[in-house]
Assembly symmetry: C2
Homo-oligomer: 312 residues x 2
Amino acid sequence: MKANSPSTVSIVLRGLSEKRNISDATKKKVLEAAKTLGYTPNMQSKLLRSNLPNLPVITLFWDSTTRQYILGSFLKGIQDSIVSNGFTYDLQVKPYAVDHLEESMTARTLMESNGIIICNASDKDIEFLENNDLSVPIVLYNRYSDKYPTVNMNDKEIGKMAADVFIRHEKTRPALLTSVPNFEGMVIRENTFKDILNQNHISDIYRIVVDDTPSGGYMGVLEILKSKPLPDCILCSSDNIALGAIKAFYDKGIKIPEQLELISIGNGNRDLEEYSTPSLSVVSLPLEAMADACLTRISRAITDLSLVSDSR
Amino acid sequence: MKANSPSTVSIVLRGLSEKRNISDATKKKVLEAAKTLGYTPNMQSKLLRSNLPNLPVITLFWDSTTRQYILGSFLKGIQDSIVSNGFTYDLQVKPYAVDHLEESMTARTLMESNGIIICNASDKDIEFLENNDLSVPIVLYNRYSDKYPTVNMNDKEIGKMAADVFIRHEKTRPALLTSVPNFEGMVIRENTFKDILNQNHISDIYRIVVDDTPSGGYMGVLEILKSKPLPDCILCSSDNIALGAIKAFYDKGIKIPEQLELISIGNGNRDLEEYSTPSLSVVSLPLEAMADACLTRISRAITDLSLVSDSR
DNA sequence: TTGAAAGCGCTAACAA
DNA sequence: TTGTTAGCGCTTTCAA
């Protein structure tokens, strides 16, 4: 059987047979061959051929396992930053599972990205990054690293703000409801928090480790309620935890903030922050500003060719 | 000045000068030229050249203006579906602003996508889609269209479920706290809801239109509280609205569900559904199942070349 | 130390 | 009605 020429095949495959007077026989032959071969068009080639202007691609890696509801806010921050800075970038988001960043950063993704922003990587993910020489500019958000540029909120300040609420409200019996710290920022926040309380002569901090989920917070509170004397103020390391904690207090008939004050470090669930019932004090994290900083940073890395100083 | 050959330039630009014994003069020349020209590597070309196997690209368009916290859940549903079905796809998410889908669906994006899933398009966005012949397989999620395949939850069933709660709990004075319906499904839900109440001889439904935000819900409830007699059960069209409503009742000292029952159509804010305080009845939407259906549908469209039946 | 040529998959222009 | 050729931007192989 005679093979068809590339152009004929191209025409048929794009559904232009009629317009270009391709015979039904040829059309049928091509479509059948495509089907048996499981043909899928290669979009890179199409794009290349199209002569559309080249647009740098920025890939945002997002931990889809835990940080679900924040993505929207962060993304919005990025978008706004792109617009307000007049950048022209092709933004794409890739979800990944905690501890499995490696599997998501395929050779392909690396190859199609001019710059990469990695959000909320776990220690294991960071380890992968540090141990490999990736050929693309990378910025880590909310994490610390010697190897890559990072964008961090001021974790000390966050710890301080939480402690300040305690002190301002003249609380004396603090409790800490936290998940296992899975990134350095959490440790910094907690340490600063403790340090400042210590400086104010409060050293006895009841600390409970729970899952970073509402049910974790719920169960944590049940545990806390067994202690005597009861704490008079609880700091939750995330609003996930706070959500469950509120519910537990409600179910147990304990009034917030009258009987017991609740403070949360808010990861961007703005609705929760404003409309939680009853109100809790939230140390709010500047998500949008951080997104903006990430974009600015990666943008610099992309522009700045000197970053491609020889690797060996 | 003599031009350098492509290969030399390529070597320098990838930071391999040292390894490949490029003279410092040449290296400097190339880097400077790149800088003044504002060179950015074309990743399509790199990918093409790399001989990595071709991976079909699925683009998920997400309305980033309103539906922020759902994205995580939906994305997770997609991811899980990819894994469990053994698909190999390159998934990318593109945010867009309501009513501005057109601007986000650039020629470039169309050209780099083998298939597109569009979520939560507004009527205006749908209009754009219907009026244009896009050359890529498209699936609409949560919307109705004659032109494109759609994936919808059973909106009648949702309306029915909400009505059933009213009836089961023997309520007689219903109120509806809804945002302006911006997609057909909302209308279907509301109509079914009313129909069923009517069938049960409840025809007097107090209806208030508010913003689809917590503060919308808050203000809506304040309005409702002015009415006599008070409704005994309120249906909120989204959990955004419900969140504000709860807060309003709390602030006004009205007990839920004892004094007044609250029902919400939940858009996937699972935390809220489980841990709202006090509890509200939520008609939960099957987000993950929908995501799976979207992926299956677009996958079929991509595979099924007969879909490229002649356009003219 | 640098350059020339080929080819990744695709499509447009032109030729047959 | 179909085929040939060139070229999108890149990297690799081989030659100079």
